[in-house]
């Protein structure tokens, strides 16, 4: 198949003549040892027409149950928010979709300005003065923040609340092994970080304290109290907050409650679910950390005519210059996903973000109250929640409940046994977005009741049989 390669046979002949070789094979044989040249084609099927590939990919898509196909209450880190139409349109523009990293700023002002605006929006959202142009995604952003802390204070212990996403804790552990740190997990009590155990976890060798807001079970943490306790016990500790950005419409921003580095998953800001990626991780910090932050940063400057312009700046932190002395090996941003983020935040605007967050809080409150009234459903905790909450279905097989509801067109949420086996085996984590209406919440309550009753009836029948 050559539909993307323009060289015709005639071109090829002329080009080979210009090079002075008889064939491409000769050109390769001059450079690659004979024994390494493949004699057989790669073990792959023959190429296909565009139409055939489309049909195959459509068939694969049809074998997935997407948020288009069912009413979904799944969250746990990524959320089914409505993505405004302008985002697809702007992300699809070739001028944003197809350029390379803006290393030639004179012809990359569009992308650089987007980065600058994105950094401003994230600083506003987090109430922290400096933001980079984004990192890979949520959990690895936390790990990058912990590495920053290690560079700053040289301490060894990372204290993390068990309320952090399990992926975050696992990612921290993987990377901490690399740079010789130890991860200490502080348990939850009544759905939030156990204050006593938290305070006791800090010492002079503590590098960072990691808390997630709201936590994995949806509970709003008292971040100020946790940050204060971390500093009291570990004087050098860098306080890292992993935030759900939408909830910052109503929750106190990290910069105002003692957080030094705020990071988080940006998917909910105008990005698709995409089965987990790509999205972006945001990364904002206090001024003192500016020159040690990972990733790209856009800065404002002027050109020789005095015009305002933007460049990639503070590159001396980066791997392409500092190599083994770089502050991180991250050498990209998630530019296109971050574009969706800043467009989405502009679309919501100053008034819209609090309105949306308030809407989520109201519907979540209703959903939690409604579900708690279903026989067989209990709240897993009673802490304040914004957009996600956990319930227990004592004595019930939760994955079976999920399957029952899915058979009726509703995905009720995450069976917590999938992430917390042995700890919350009867737990269900339910997420609300502005796409989940009162009717859908009522339907969920009815289906949960039916599923629980069906299981109990089934169990009784088994016993009597």
């Amino acid at each position: 198949m050559t539909r993307y390669t323009p060289a015709t046979d005639a071109d090829q002949e002329a080009m080979l003549a210009a090079v002075g070789v008889g064939s491409i094979r000769d050109l390769l044989a001059e450079q690659i040892p004979e024994a390494l040249l493949l004699q057989e084609p790669l073990d792959l099927p023959d190429g296909q027409s565009e139409q055939e590939v489309y049909t195959h990919l459509r068939d694969l898509a049809a074998r997935n149950t997407s948020a288009e196909d069912e009413v979904t209450f799944l969250g746990a880190g990524m959320y089914d928010h409505y993505v405004p139409a302008i985002i697809d349109m702007l992300m699809g523009r070739s001028e944003f979709l197809t350029p390379y990293t803006p290393y030639q700023p004179e012809v990359s002002q569009g992308g650089l300005q987007v980065m600058f605006e994105y950094q401003t929006a994230i600083s506003e959202l987090t109430a922290l003065p400096v933001s980079n142009a984004s990192v890979y995604e949520g959990p690895s952003a936390v790990a990058a923040a912990a590495y920053l802390a290690k560079l700053v204070n040289g301490r060894r212990r990372i204290v993390v609340s068990a309320g952090a996403h399990p992926h975050t804790i696992q990612t921290l552990r993987t990377l901490a092994v690399g740079y010789g740190s130890e991860v200490v997990v502080v348990p939850l009590k009544d759905g939030v970080t156990d204050a006593e155990a938290w305070a006791a976890a800090f010492d002079d060798d503590t590098s960072s304290a990691v808390v997630q807001q709201p936590n994995f079970l949806g509970a709003v943490e008292d971040v100020q109290a946790l940050a204060d306790a971390a500093r009291a016990g570990g004087p050098k500790a860098v306080v890292i907050g992993a935030y759900d950005p939408i909830t910052l419409g109503v929750l106190a921003p990290p910069g105002e409650v003692g957080v030094d580095v705020a990071v988080g998953e940006g998917q909910s800001l105008g990005n698709r679910l995409d089965f987990g990626g790509p999205s972006f991780g945001f990364f904002a910090a206090r001024e003192a950390f500016l020159r040690r932050m990972p990733g790209r940063i856009a800065g404002e400057t002027t050109d020789v005519d005095g015009r305002r312009g933007f460049v990639l700046t503070l590159q001396t932190r980066e791997q392409h210059i500092r190599r083994e002395k770089a502050t991180s090996n991250i050498c990209t941003s998630q530019a296109l996903n971050a574009l969706a983020g800043v467009v989405y935040l502009s679309w919501l605007g100053r008034e819209g973000l609090p309105e949306l967050a308030n809407l989520l809080a109201q519907r979540t409150h209703y959903a939690r109250t409604t579900l708690a009234a279903v026989e067989g459903v209990e709240l897993l905790h009673e802490q304040p929640v914004v957009r996600e909450f956990a319930v227990r279905l004592p004595g019930v097989d939760v994955p079976q409940v999920v399957a029952y509801c899915q058979d009726h067109g509703v995905n009720p949420g995450l069976a917590l046994t999938r992430t917390h086996e042995g700890q919350f085996d009867d737990g269900l984590l339910v997420a609300i977005t502005e796409q989940r209406t009162k009717d859908e919440i009522d339907t969920l309550a009815r289906l949960l009741g039916d599923a629980i009753a069906a299981q109990r009836t089934g169990a009784r029948q088994e016993v009597s049989a």
Binding site: L97, V177, G249, R323, C331, R363, Y366
Partner: protein, 536 residues
Amino acid sequence: MSTTDNAVPTEAVAYGGDEQGGARVPAHSVNPIQRDPARTIFEKSVAGRRAFVAPPAGVPEVDLDEIIPAGLRRTAPARLPQVTEPEIVRHYVRISRRNFDLDSGFYPLGSCTMKYNPRLHERVAGLPGHARLHPFQTPEHAQGALELMHGLERQLSAVSGLPHVCLQPSAGSHGELAGVLLARAYHESRGETRTKVLTPDTAHGTNPATVTMAGLEVVKVATNPDGGVDIDDLRAKADEDVALIMLTNPNTLGIFDPNIEEIASIVHGVGGVLYYDGANLNAIMGITRPGDMGFDIVHFNLHKSFTQPHGGGGPGSGPIAVSDRIAPFVPVPVIRKEEAADGSATFSLLDAPTEGPGSQSIGKLRGFQGNYGVFVRCYSYIRSLGGSGLRDASEKAVLNANYLLAKLDELGVREHLPLAFGTRCMHEFVISGGPMKRDLGIKTLDLAKRLLDHGYHPPTVYFPLLVDEAMLIEPVETEARETLDGFAAALAEILREAKDDPTIAQNAPYSTPVRRLDEAGAAKRPIIRQPLEETV
């Protein structure tokens, strides 16, 4: 509009209104939109405007204090812009026009493989069954996605010549980190603590940065006069402390190291692991395989070799392929395929496999399964091309690079811009601007900036570090011969022009949305956000 004798006839100026390209004299011949004063969306904000209208809550509302105590709440809203939808659209469309992009111009960036991005891939990645699939969807309801990921693993295995693939890493540098951690875990499982990582001085900057993040020590290996690894230096440094060597082949000079089998034997001989940086994979697909060269771990840059659009710097994706001995340590989750007697297949995701790949996993490197949206595009590309198509792509990439070299020779360009190493190249080559700087008084940076006036994105400059005034050029297989001719002619024209008047290049560019920017000033006094006090 063109005033050059040797105008570039076929190449439109991608970012400008001057469709002929080749501005000979300093002139501000650009579209007025591009000369917009750069006002940000925050500066366009007007109190009272909005784009978002919330749906009615539809539930009985309660006082927010009853839901979240006031002490935990935000007191002042984030000062986001206050703009209407048409203003947002116009703002971003206008600033998009101040970008050079691959769809409208040639991007011969060495080491970065800027090939055409088929639009089919955007269409299929946008199907709701892919784009709106939740990552915690139960595997029974995500069989299509898992089949696709398993299929991509098999495709990448075929290309690399290594049996196991893990898709999780988010970017090439993330894949590198995975690779180094894997090598470390492998040695530790054998009771060995090895601390050194060999990296050639031509290596990508991410290699040493990654080694440091993984807690190991960088040991540089010299380059020989032919541009390959200096075997004597390698022998001297290869000892029982070596955990791995990180190489790309062809290397960043565009040279295939003919001693690769000997290198493999030396490193394996001291018990080390061979790691392949996949940045230059576009030179060898279907031609040779890293697994055959002796590599144990390979990372892929899906955005380079397999047509994922670069997005202005992301997203990418950096899967890794590994040999049998490394496979137990790969990050989780792993995808498992089970075939039933009737030939039907079921796919599952395992977070803690008890045997096979991932059974002694280093853990997770990020949330969820990786950049699935990128997987869809790359899988589609490999389906479209098949084995022979991939080979054709690589062959044409090598042909284009060597043709461009020959063309530069024919036009006398190589007198000022000689090839740094060797005589032929694989898919890219490095020329040195040293003689040009000495003889004509213009630096590689000046040449790069002047190319912008001709409508071309400059090649990668000042890398690799060991070449004086380096320019690393990779013309890729999706570019036509006429484009290469035009680019060569532009280089020749700039050199000719510099003989008459070097200040033209020294002060370039002229036709771009902004002219040469003060980067040093930006770093000295960083302004990295809009100061909002003044505008809101």
